[in-house]
Symmetry: C2
Subunit: 117 residues, 2 copies
């Protein structure tokens, strides 16, 4: 007797549990990237990186546009938003209105955040 649950949460949280994949998402936040471009920063075979991309795609966090032999990936923020929404239920444990408002303003005013995956 398990309650209703957002059907994507399992896949999305699993996808986010790997640092390589989180770094890929971060990279995609700067715009479309090919699979090779996504793979380049990692000490890993292209096939390995390609599998990570496929996990992200399977979770709906990334979409793919094929142009010739190049596959361009784009961040699908909707699924990220869905995952973040899961936390809202718990926000009452760590925040009050002012805390949240402050977080909003900080997140808006800070465009880049070095050293983040």
């Amino acid at each position: 007797m398990v309650e209703y649950q957002s059907p994507h949460l399992d896949a999305v949280f699993h996808a986010l549990s790997d640092p390589t994949r989180r770094a890929m998402l971060h990279r995609l936040s700067g715009g479309e990237q090919s699979v090779s471009q996504l793979a380049q920063p990692f000490d890993m075979s292209l096939a390995g990186a390609s599998k990570h991309v496929k996990v992200l795609e399977g979770a709906g966090l990334v979409s793919r546009r094929v142009d010739g032999r190049t596959h361009y990936c784009r961040l699908e923020a909707a699924r990220l938003a869905e995952a973040q929404a899961w936390f809202r239920y718990y926000e009452r444990f760590w925040s009050n209105r002012l805390d949240k408002l402050q977080a909003i303003l900080e997140a808006e005013d800070r465009e880049s955040y070095a050293g983040r995956d």
Copy 2:
């Protein structure tokens, strides 16, 4: 050359990727629960549920207080907050100030949310 990354994110997101564990957290949002109480709703052996609790504990999402033979678990919201904070960088993709403010007010005014894990 992987960037700095919050050391807990791997474990936290992994812990959250399982619906049983998310349901346990949800249950703990109502207050301390023993391991048996946490296990009760699931069609699963106690040992199996106990392992889920241990995963949550390992991720820092739950802490444990032993009283006699009973282990009481408590939600550790700080780690949840840490995970939610990861999403802030991406918020610019799906929200503006007004959207966020609305989300805040909704989350505050709605205390219980049926059908959620």
